[in-house]
């Protein structure tokens, strides 16, 4: 970025489109909190007034994947929940990022058993991992700052297709929603 000004004219700001977009994006993240366990409670502390994630422009949590660009997976993901998480990720629009909060989401944590997915990176790509059980809010804010730096550079987005091609990221097939999922819900009985 630079500032140009000539005699008799207002100064103008020159920049590259990507840089401007990255700058705008990093300060207006719309997180989708995917809280499935105790880390979800800790995430609430991050959003609360004491740690106040709004200082970083990421306080407007959205519970719709279509309105969010940052998926924060906070909690244990069971094998049964894995297809749901994958579908939510698939429904989010590009550009999108994923933070894996806590050891459960990152690696299964101490739930090394029949029921638990051993890390969400087996089904979706992850940008930042936060260790801890649960991570302290400072760690979450730190991860957010790291992600903001990453977004500003914009490299990861440009690299993503080639990394998928090289097998470094899981292949996300955009499977079409099943007929059942798209059917209007009018047939559901009202109680």
């Amino acid at each position: 970025m630079g500032v140009k000004s000539g005699p008799g004219s207002d100064p103008i700001l020159t920049t590259m489109l990507d840089t401007a977009l990255g700058w705008a994006r990093k300060f207006s993240l719309f997180p989708l909190p995917y809280g499935t366990a105790c880390c979800g409670i800790e995430y609430m502390a991050v959003v609360g007034s004491r740690y106040d994630v709004s200082r970083f422009g990421a306080e407007v949590v959205r519970f719709s994947p279509r309105q969010s660009d940052l998926l924060i997976v906070a909690g244990t993901i069971s094998q049964k929940m894995a297809p749901v998480l994958k579908r939510i990720y698939d429904q989010m629009l590009e550009p999108k990022w994923v933070i894996s909060m806590g050891v459960c989401a990152s690696s299964g944590g101490f739930y090394d058993n029949y029921a638990t997915l051993q890390g969400i990176d087996r089904i979706i790509p992850v940008d930042i991992y936060i260790p801890g059980c649960p991570p302290r809010p400072e760690a979450v804010l730190d991860a957010l700052i790291m992600l903001m730096e990453k977004i500003e550079k914009g490299e990861d987005l440009a690299q993503r297709p080639s990394r998928v091609a090289q097998g470094q990221l899981p292949v996300i097939d955009g499977e079409a929603p099943s007929e059942e999922a798209t059917r209007p819900r009018s047939h559901v009985k009202q109680h």
Partner: protein, 162 residues
């Protein structure tokens, strides 16, 4: 103030085949054959006011070197008398004999508990209206809380996610 009743003693006087076991709790517990379960449970509910089936769980005793292999444990509570009582039914592991009569007709709470025990241990409950897995997903094979279920065995729903 009247003396608190002794439900365990009352029960044992009525059904002589009950064998007391030590539960390391202040509450009485009895072993009984599965065939007599409904009869005893009905007496508990209707005569001794044990109106709540507070819990129903199962033990795979294969590593405790006890026979039979499974022990289904019933935890009854009386809201009126504030009294608790346990029953235990031994269940053989042979496929055909791995079954217990269901308590669903007596206690509504038995419905989900029995589904859980079926899901985790593979003990069938005769007369259950809807004996389906409750926690694990459809297509899951085996019963994960059995001691012979390989602890490293994964059955992911998304192929390759194990």
């Amino acid at each position: 103030m009247t003396e608190p009743r002794n439900a365990g003693k009352l029960l044992q006087e009525k059904f002589s085949y009950l064998k007391e076991f030590d539960l390391a709790t202040p509450f009485p517990g009895f072993f009984l054959p599965g065939d007599n379960l409904v009869e005893v449970a009905r007496y508990l509910k209707e005569e001794l006011s044990f109106d709540l089936l507070a819990d129903l769980s199962c033990i795979d005793a294969s590593e405790l070197e006890r026979t039979p292999r499974f022990e289904v444990l019933y935890n009854f509570y009386s809201l009126k008398e504030r009294d608790r009582l346990f029953l235990k039914v031994g269940v053989d592991e042979a496929e055909k004999k791995c079954r217990v009569p269901s308590l669903c007709p007596l206690y509504a709470t038995a419905n989900w508990y029995e589904r859980e025990v079926w899901d985790m241990f593979g003990v069938r409950f005769d007369g259950h209206p809807y004996l389906k897995r409750i926690l694990m997903y459809e297509g899951f094979e085996g019963h994960p809380l059995r001691k012979d279920y390989d602890i490293c065995h994964r059955q992911p729903l998304i192929p390759g996610a194990d």
